[in-house]
């Protein structure tokens, strides 16, 4: 019951930028740690630089909260060495959706108040 409650909390609570970006990185499928780091750097820019220690600390807590789960498979680039891969759980996907909706809502409010200029279409 306690596990279920903590999973529910994790799904409903606003996410930290690091957790949000890790979930976002995993939205495209399972990844190992370094791939997540690169994806987070690409999505979050220089403001969200994440090293291995920070990443695995977050992954540990996110695994405990039921947002991601760990899998293991042979590294294609490294022969028989196995490495850990992470993938979203259902709860993680819902938490990511919830946070994205919250951000969309905040962005909409910011635009309405003139804090952020409306986005332009892609340049032609």
């Amino acid at each position: 019951m306690a596990v279920l409650d903590s999973k529910l909390d994790a799904e409903l609570a606003p996410l930290t930028p690091a957790v949000f970006h890790i979930l976002l990185a995993l939205a495209g499928g399972r990844k190992h740690g370094y791939a997540i780091m690169k994806e987070v750097a690409a999505d979050g820019g220089s403001s969200l630089r994440m090293g291995p220690g920070t990443l695995y600390g977050s992954l540990q807590r996110m695994t405990a909260a039921g947002l991601v789960e760990e899998t293991e498979q042979a590294d294609e680039t490294d022969g028989d060495q196995r490495r850990r891969y992470y993938q979203l759980t259902g709860a993680g996907r819902r938490a990511l959706g919830g946070e994205t909706a919250r951000l969309r809502q905040a962005l909409w409010a910011a635009k309405r108040k003139g804090v952020v200029a409306p986005a332009r279409g892609p340049a032609r």
């Binding site: 740690g33 370094y34 780091m37 090293g51 291995p52 220690g53 540990q60 807590r61 293991e72 490495r83």
Partner: protein
């Protein structure tokens, strides 16, 4: 070997040593992955030095986070341990205090009983009181005082400022009903008397002595108990803080991993 490669290897070796600073559980579980990430970062980096700084900063930041997290998780353990040591130290101090306090009555019990027996046998009050006079405030010697049935002193080997004193009225009333009472009373500030009050056929006998030395010993025991409590708790807190570095085991494997590994 080119200089940047040498530097990269040196930084990675330093990082590997740094991994030992993580809590055991975290280290056992993630050290391999952390090493591999650092290696991949270094391989793709144009500047080993810059990557080295990034790794060092990340190591420091995540170490603080991991220890802070573990410390918060383990606060209930510490609270239980500190409560236990406080209870043990308190009980030990209380037992020692009681033993000292009870031993403070040792000669008085025998003196009061003997005096009561002699009075009941018909001896004169003046004859059962020791000849040597005692100043209650300054002497540690035990004394005997005989009172009549209303609590008026009849004969005494002790005085305070030249006056023969009576114990509190309530004490005599209690002894009148119960036969004996062991009580500490304070005839004036700074003078505490451990006394045994016994009922006789014609009144009461009080055998007492100044508690100055007993109180000094009680204070010493209290100080020792407090020092012991402090030392044990400091040791416990230190062990509690450093245990994550040396102790702990691997977390259980995750079910998802086992499912994938199953044939």
């Amino acid at each position: 070997m080119r200089a940047p490669q040498k530097l990269s290897r040196l930084i990675l070796a330093g990082y590997q040593v740094g991994l030992y600073l993580y809590p055991t559980q975290f280290r056992d579980w993630y050290a391999g992955e952390l090493r591999r990430c650092a290696l991949e970062m270094m391989e793709e980096s144009a500047s080993p030095l810059r990557t080295g700084f990034l790794l060092a900063e990340d190591l420091l930041r995540s170490l603080i986070k991991e220890y802070f997290g573990m410390t918060l998780d383990r606060v209930p353990q510490l609270v239980i341990l500190l409560t236990l040591t406080t209870f043990i130290a308190g009980t030990a101090a209380n037992i020692s205090h009681q033993v000292l306090r009870m031993s403070a009555n040792d000669p008085q019990i025998q003196m009061a009983e003997d005096a009561a027996q002699r009075l009941n046998a018909g001896e004169n009050a003046a004859s059962i009181v020791p000849d040597r006079k005692v100043d209650m405030a300054s002497s540690l010697a035990p004394f005997v005082t005989v009172y009549d049935d209303v609590g008026k002193p009849v004969a005494s080997s002790a005085s305070l400022d030249g006056i023969m004193l009576s114990p509190p009225r309530g004490v005599l009333d209690y002894v009148r009903a119960h036969g004996e009472e062991r009580v500490t009373w304070q005839p004036r500030p700074g003078v505490r008397i451990a006394s045994v009050v016994t009922r006789t056929a014609s009144g009461f006998v009080v055998a007492g002595r100044n508690m100055r030395e007993v109180e000094i010993r009680e204070n010493n025991v209290l100080k020792l108990a407090a020092l012991g409590w402090l030392a044990v708790n400091l040791a416990l807190i230190t062990i509690w803080l450093v245990t994550p570095i040396f102790g702990g085991g691997k977390p259980p494997r995750l079910q998802a991993t086992e499912e994938l590994e199953a044939p």
